[in-house]
Amino acid sequence: MSAPPPLRIRGLSVGYPSDHGAIQAVREVDLDVAAGEFLGIVGESGSGKTQLLLAILRLSAPHARLAGSIRYREQELLQLNVRALNQVRGNRISMVFQDPMTALNPYLRIGRQITEVLRVHRNVSGREAERRGIEMLESVHIPEGPRRMRQYPHELSGGMRQRVMIAMALIAEPEILLADEPSTALDVTVQAQILSLFQELRARTGTAIVLVTHDLGVIAEVADRVAVMYAGRIMEQAPIHELFAHPRHPYTEALQQSIPRIDAPRPTHLASIGGAPPNAAALPAGCAFAPRCIYRMPICESIDPPLIEAAPGHWKACHHQGPLGKLRSEAA
């Protein structure tokens, strides 16, 4: 890839002041989003993945403290005034949220909610916006566009509402689409439909997609590249096949082991990771995963390992050198 990535995040931290010390939701994250790529961000609840996504469009809660740099092309998003920021939001970078039941405005018709994006960002007539809206509904596989445009969100099913959210996010043809657990709140069959819709739309429009999920299985199906987050940091980052074939971080390895497999010999004991994630207000001095890590060494408890490129395109934040595999041999 010769062209510089359109989105470059460097040293991004998101903190929330609290009575029990600052809560560090995101810590020193470096991340690039290349043009047209499908990037997955995986992590458990509280790992900071949603906070990272919200920070990109500066949608974090008002009392959040953001530090570091988020560059979109020539613009530093963290320095932009609101007017300039609004020209990026929904236009160059757009976002789809987790729960389509609450993310759409229940008081406004679908048509208004879709077309207003176009009216704000493009100089189009109401009729043209309406036509583009119906077209957009069609491309997210919602038939009867003209009728749907006049309906309210509560008249649509959950899957349908999420398609509306996606239509809304893509109507201005953004360069990057951020999706925060877009299928988590939906039925399993609908989940699969939404995921394949993302792939289809990326192939057709060339929009880069950043998909945040807690489900490594979902990532495996759709993403080109994966970043694994834990306690606000990126622990490992690699192309999808590389990550699954050669995980280099013990946390990634443990996550993979905990995916249930339908072809496994029964009865199989489903592996889980011992212990619990650390309290974001009182993180350990060294590596945040150390207390739960089976490869733990003395250095892990004092020095937080930096994210380094262990192999071309494969980054990890771990003191452990050499191959993993302890888990697999234990399981066998």
Partner: protein, 307 residues
């Protein structure tokens, strides 16, 4: 919607009947009657007057007679103002109260709404603290303190406006009473709107609107305003009914010929028909404005279906 409205209006009849019955019984249970208080009368004269107003009949018969008149829209003759019917008294007083009340509620909506929404948008700022301090003061200062102060400043000292009286509904006579009546409502609506706006601004669909890059103006007017109106409407329904029937204090201070002042004198004088008449009017207005509030919910929120 029409069927719903008709059904609600029919449903109001039993409610009104209960109100009438309770008012009737309570008044007649109170000791004394309309014609035995101050002046001594010859027993024969008193008897003939009571016979004229059917007060010599058994209570159940008076009650049925009253209901029969009420069904025809006749609230009966006033006992206190001889030769004047309750209908006439209300027809004279209601326009005064309605004019001042509607002016006050409009004022309260515009000023209170603007102050509240602005405070929510600038939460934690000086504007926010300043306007909420004003709101607390507005709610907790009684009208009988504010109204004379206003007269003292704007009428007596500055000579800008008349101190009271009601000259054919001239606008200058309207200003001070309307403002005095509106002040606590301005304050209450400001607090109400601040609270509901803050709540709505924290909702996920507002975050979506921000993520779409909409300017603040659109987010507030198109996305946030409508949902904030629901609690406002709940408050306004009964409040408007109360404002239209007049405030005793405001009427007394500004010397206005409204209904409110009749209410207390009528109760003290055992003017049965006038008290029941005003009570029924007030009850009917409350029922009417609560129905309007419910119709407003359906207009505000597409998820509300009236059945």
């Amino acid at each position: 919607m029409l069927r719903y409205t008709v059904r609600r209006l029919l449903g109001a009849i039993p409610t009104l009947l209960v109100i009438v019955t309770l008012a009737f019984l309570l008044l007649h249970a109170a000791p004394g009657g309309p014609f035995d208080a101050a002046k001594r009368m010859l027993p024969e004269i008193q008897k003939s007057i009571e016979a004229k107003y059917h007060l010599d009949e058994p209570l159940w018969r008076q009650y049925l007679r009253y209901l029969g008149d009420l069904a025809r829209g006749d609230l009966g003759p006033s006992f206190q103002y001889r030769g004047t019917s309750v209908n006439e008294i209300i027809a004279q007083g209601l326009p005064v109260d309605a004019t001042i009340g509607l002016t006050a509620i409009t004022l309260a909506l515009v000023v209170g709404g603007a102050v509240g929404v602005n405070a929510a948008l600038r939460r934690g700022s000086r504007w926010d603290y300043g306007s909420m301090a004003f709101a607390v003061a507005g709610i907790s200062t009684p009208v009988f303190v504010v109204a004379p102060l206003m007269i003292l400043i704007f009428a007596v000292t500055l000579h800008w406006l008349p101190a009271g009286d009601w000259v054919g509904g001239s606008p200058s006579h309207l200003v001070l009473p309307a403002i005095a009546l509106a002040l606590p409502y301005v304050a209450y609506i400001a607090r109400l709107m601040r609270g509901s706006t803050i709540e709505v601004l924290n909702s996920p669909f507002i975050r979506t609107a921000r993520a779409k890059g909409l300017p603040l103006r659109l987010i507030v007017w198109r996305h946030a305003l409508r949902p904030t109106l629901t609690p406002l409407v709940s408050f306004l329904g009964p409040a408007i009914a109360g404002l239209l029937t007049g405030s005793i204090v405001v009427e007394s201070v500004f010397g206005l010929p409204g209904i409110g002042r009749h209410f207390i004198t009528a109760a003290l004088n055992r003017d049965y028909t006038l008290v029941i008449g005003i009570t029924v009017l007030y009850g009917a207005l409350i029922i009417l404005f609560n129905l309007l509030a419910d119709l407003c919910y359906a207009w505000i929120d597409p998820r509300v279906r009236l059945r």
